[in-house]
């Protein structure tokens, strides 16, 4: 208690709002955190620190928080249920090396679809993703274009779709350069029985683009679908209901101090970071165990 009085009586550089003052103010916990960014934020646990910085940015600018697309929200809630328990404890999966997944929906002004029924079904869309939220310490493991289809409409048993991607490189003075199109043909067989989501792995395509220090990603996506496997003339009705413009899903490995290191947790609680771990512990890396056994 005395330490709290001391803090409440001094005027700390962070203008801490003493708890008793909050009766008159909105009970917003972010107001209890050091206001000046960076002041005392080192004392905050990682989640509070991340939220206080995030909350301050949006509160400070008075910017209302944009609401995400409901389909995208549903997909991420399903991903959360697969990755963590109800209490929020990450599930130990062998292949699950990511500790961060970010889902971006394209900016609204650049959504336009046009279907050309000449050769089967063609959907093309011009997408602009703002990747501001990806930090320098988050390294890309996998990127996916996420298509969601409205499966209420009757669909054929299986479709063969090909997806071509190309990007518009923006020059340094952001005038439109001749588009350096990187296109990768994908062939995709998917029975559209009950599946609402189709994931296109575009990692090899986006890796160099996301690694470059850029904030915006401009991608043109053409999806051509033919009935079954044999090419055929386009039936009178379109094969695919017009898909919603795809979202971009990035699986990342966050290497910052506060992020959970999956490769390091051997299913046991992590030692208190304030107390250095023993060097020979196999927790650090699998080879540690063998090396110490050899030494013994």
């Amino acid at each position: 208690p005395h330490s709290r009085d001391r803090v409440a009586s001094e005027q700390p550089s962070g203008q801490l709002v003493a708890p008793e003052d909050t009766s008159s103010r909105d009970l917003n916990p972010l107001l209890w955190l050091p206001q000046a960014p960076g002041q005392g934020s080192a004392l905050l646990p990682p989640l509070l620190k991340a939220l206080s910085e995030r909350g301050q940015r949006s509160w400070a600018r008075g910017v209302p928080r944009l609401q995400p697309d409901s389909r995208a929200l549903r997909y991420m809630k399903r991903l959360y249920k697969m990755s963590a328990t109800k209490e929020g404890i990450p599930k130990a999966h062998k292949g699950h090396l990511y500790n961060t997944v970010r889902l971006f929906t394209p900016c609204s002004e650049c959504k336009h679809l046009h279907g050309n029924l000449g050769k089967g079904d063609i959907h093309s869309v011009d997408l602009l993703f703002n990747l501001d939220r990806v930090t320098a310490l988050e390294h890309l493991l996998k990127s996916v274009l996420l298509y969601s289809f409205d499966t209420s409409a009757p669909l054929s048993s299986s479709l063969t779709c090909t997806c071509h991607l190309s990007t518009q490189e923006q020059g340094p003075s952001s005038q439109a350069c001749p588009s350096l199109s990187h296109s990768l043909p994908f062939s995709l067989h998917f029975p559209l029985r009950k599946r609402k989501w189709v994931e296109l792995d575009v990692t090899s395509f986006l890796q160099p683009l996301i690694a470059a220090p850029r904030r915006d990603l401009h991608v043109a996506v053409n999806v051509t679908c033919l009935l079954g496997d044999a090419p055929s003339t386009a039936p009178p009705n379109p094969l695919l209901p017009s898909p919603v413009p795809p979202s971009l899903l990035l699986y990342l490995n966050d290497t910052s101090q506060q992020a959970h290191r999956r490769w390091n947790s051997a299913g046991r609680g992590r030692k208190n970071p304030a107390f250095p771990r023993k060097r020979t512990g196999s927790l650090l890396h699998p080879a540690g165990e063998r090396a110490s056994r050899r030494r013994r």
């Binding site: 939220l51 928080r65 929200l73 970010r102 506060q258 959970h260 609680g269």
Partner: protein
């Protein structure tokens, strides 16, 4: 049991409990306590979608003198206890603090409307120690 009279060291049967009390560990000994909060209490549920409940737990209680054996404490902890008891009571007794943590997965809505799944380290205390 053979000798009819009670041995001088052990007390008469009547105050056995008082006799054993001196060996009992402190009642409010250093241990892990449960604390559950929901992000809606903090009104953070507008951007923290999951989990709904978060149990950070905490460590609280007295550190007994034999902290080394029950808590895997460093020898320094016992030295600090001896300093407090024998030399200088202004030196604080060892404190009951977390020794191990587990991570927490969080699903949040970012200010730009994108959605992030993140796993944060050291968010739930799972074991206590005396330091």
């Amino acid at each position: 049991e053979e000798s009819p009279k009670a041995s001088p060291a052990s007390p008469a049967a009547s105050n056995w409990s008082q006799y054993f009390n001196q060996f009992q560990f402190p009642r409010d000994e250093c241990e892990l306590h449960t604390f559950r909060l929901s992000f809606s209490q903090l009104r953070w549920d507008r951007w923290i979608i999951a989990p709904h409940r978060y149990s950070p737990q905490y460590c609280k209680g007295e550190c007994p003198r034999a902290a080394r054996y029950r808590y895997g404490s460093a020898v320094h902890t016992m030295v600090q206890n001896i300093i407090y008891e024998k030399l200088d009571p202004s030196v604080p007794r060892p404190s009951c603090v977390p020794a191990e943590y587990s991570p927490l997965s969080v699903l949040t809505i970012e200010p730009d409307g994108s959605i992030a799944y993140k796993e944060y380290e050291d968010m739930i205390a799972t074991k206590c120690t005396c330091r």
